[in-house]
């Protein structure tokens, strides 16, 4: 009797646990995954190509739209790359404000991850709590840049505007109330037997494999590799801050869960230090012809108005060369590679997308495991399909 041994099924693209439009081709033997092949590209919008056609300034809004859960990190990485290319030094205050905003972004991204990951595993109520806290952070974004998600607030050479007047108060409010909320999350999940059963020893990856798969961020640290770009190659003044790098032991989904929770605590510590030590000063570097002059000056000073007009219409020319700047985004190493041919537009912009490269390791995480673990593995990678496909 001819018998088919394995069954091929499609998970997604429209599956709620795939966080967007990810399709996974699964080959099953009973309930065991024999082969898994992620298929991406459903959201490909050619952001890299679009950025090549724009002036350096005008390419900035494209970056928010990749990883829409951490817009400030994307802005920061792009601006740091252009600043490196143009050799611009930004004022101290800008550095501190950027660090604070980048850490709030990490909270934002990890909160959404926590809510959706728990939701995937059946803990419905988490999402309601995490989105409640996320709201506070989104409100700060709104106060800063006027938008709740696509902020484009961090600009080349500084910030778009002065920080809002109550920025300090709002951030302190989050720092004060957040640890208590984190207790609630831990009460709901950390010792929850169902959660532990679903995540412990699931989606395990060893330290060597994690490095070999080029994983980054919590995926790498969850396996016990102590690597964080904020400490290893500090940017934007991270060397002034005191924080720990949490690492996991086994590299399973539960380790990564604890890892991310601990990262949130460290982010709060960094926010506290940034708010306490924020120096006074201008919110944008003074580099005529490259960095836009402050809006107040544009309205009152002739030269500023001319520079403003010139930068907006024809941009600035850059030296020929190639730069790469990586930051520790919430999902891992986010890098911008800019190749310039000496004109006012980049010749090539390459984004090193953390979730794309982390997602590539999905087969290694799930093959030989049960079908139900695939959902957990996708959740624990923390993907945003907008960034995977760009």
């Amino acid at each position: 009797m001819a018998q088919q041994k394995t069954l091929e099924i499609n998970m997604g693209p429209q599956h709620p646990s795939t966080h967007g439009v990810l399709r996974v081709k699964l080959e099953l033997d009973g309930e065991t995954v024999v082969k898994a092949e992620p298929v991406v590209g459903y959201l490909h919008t050619g952001i890299e190509k679009t950025m090549e056609s724009k002036l350096y300034y005008k390419a900035l809004p494209c970056t928010d739209r990749m990883d829409y859960l951490s817009p400030m990190s994307n802005n920061l990485a792009y601006c740091l790359a252009v600043e490196k290319l143009m050799d611009i030094e930004v004022p101290e205050k800008v550095k501190w404000a950027r660090v604070c905003l980048a850490e709030l972004t990490r909270l934002n991204s990890h909160l959404v991850w926590l809510g959706t990951h728990a939701l995937d595993l059946g803990a419905m109520s988490m999402l309601l709590y995490t989105f409640r806290e996320r709201e506070q952070i989104i409100d700060i974004y709104e106060a800063c840049g006027g938008q709740r998600m696509m902020t484009s607030y961090i600009r080349i050479g500084g910030l778009a505007h002065e920080l809002p007047r109550d920025f300090d108060k709002r951030v302190r409010e989050i720092i004060k109330t957040f640890p208590e909320k984190m207790h609630d999350y831990e009460d709901l999940l950390t010792l929850n037997q169902i959660f532990i059963n679903r995540t412990k020893d699931v989606a395990v990856i060893s330290a060597e494999d994690a490095i070999n798969w080029s994983l980054s961020g919590p995926m790498l640290r969850g396996s016990g590799v102590k690597h964080d770009i904020r400490k290893a190659n500090p940017y934007s003044g991270y060397e002034n801050f005191d924080f720990e790098i949490p690492v996991g032991e086994k590299g399973d989904a539960y380790d990564r869960y604890k890892q991310r929770l601990e990262e949130m605590r460290q982010s709060l510590r960094i926010c506290q230090q940034a708010i306490d030590g924020m120096p006074e000063g201008p919110y944008r570097a003074h580099v005529p012809g490259v960095v836009l002059p402050p809006k107040e000056d544009v309205l009152h000073k002739m030269e500023s108005m001319i520079f403003h007009f010139k930068i907006i219409t024809e941009g600035f020319t850059s030296p020929r060369g190639q730069v790469y700047q990586a930051i520790e985004a919430p999902k891992g190493e986010l890098g911008f590679f800019i190749s310039s041919d000496g004109t006012n537009r980049p010749n090539r912009v390459r984004v090193r997308p953390p979730s794309f490269i982390n997602l590539a390791s999905l087969p290694a995480l799930v093959e030989g495991r049960l079908l139900a673990d695939v959902v957990c593995a996708i959740g624990t990678i923390d993907i945003v399909l907008g960034e995977v496909d760009r």
Partner: protein, 174 residues
């Protein structure tokens, strides 16, 4: 000895001629190499216990179409972004490929992570990685012809259809 010197030393002593040049624009070490040697170089770097370069952060490519003096060296540039976690050191290997034969050896047998990176470069820039187990399109739709990130691929936009242009369907690149 600094990391930059060590890397230079290792590659120069083992591969000599294949290292064509070097620059340190904005304090980033870039080594220009012969594309033939890329696999052996990476293998030597991974195997060297002192350097401990085990992390391939990224593979990307640049198309120099339209920039005369760069195209003479080879139209396509493939850039390997390597990192040593222990030494916290990043450097780049850059190889030039001619327009008529954009082929380079695949690194998939050294780094698992190279699989998708190479597929992406193949899909968007049309560079063929010899020895890749599954070199297929990854981001663009199957019916799209050409490689969008090449500079001579036109940048187009799609006109949305409204009642006033419904009889005049917009052109879509296939």
């Amino acid at each position: 000895m600094s990391m930059a010197e060590q890397v230079r030393e290792l590659l120069k002593s083992r591969f000599g001629e294949a290292v064509l040049g070097e620059d340190d624009f904005r304090d980033q070490q870039s080594l220009y190499i012969d594309p033939e040697a890329v696999f052996d170089m990476c293998q030597a770097l991974v195997a060297d216990a002192d350097l401990d370069v085990k992390y391939l952060a990224d593979i990307t490519s640049v198309d120099w179409y339209g920039v005369e003096e760069e195209v003479r060296k080879g139209r396509f540039e493939v850039i390997y972004n390597l990192y040593s976690i222990r030494h916290k050191y990043r450097f780049f290997l850059k190889a030039r490929l001619p327009e008529d034969k954009p082929e380079i050896q695949s690194l998939t047998s050294l780094f698992n992570g190279a699989g998708w990176m190479e597929r992406e470069v193949f899909d968007l820039m049309g560079i063929i990685f010899v020895g890749h187990p599954n070199l297929t399109k990854i981001l663009t739709p199957d019916e799209l012809e050409g490689h969008p990130l090449r500079r001579d691929f036109p940048l187009t936009f799609e006109v949305p259809q409204f009642s006033w242009n419904k009889d005049d369907p917009p052109e879509v690149i296939r």
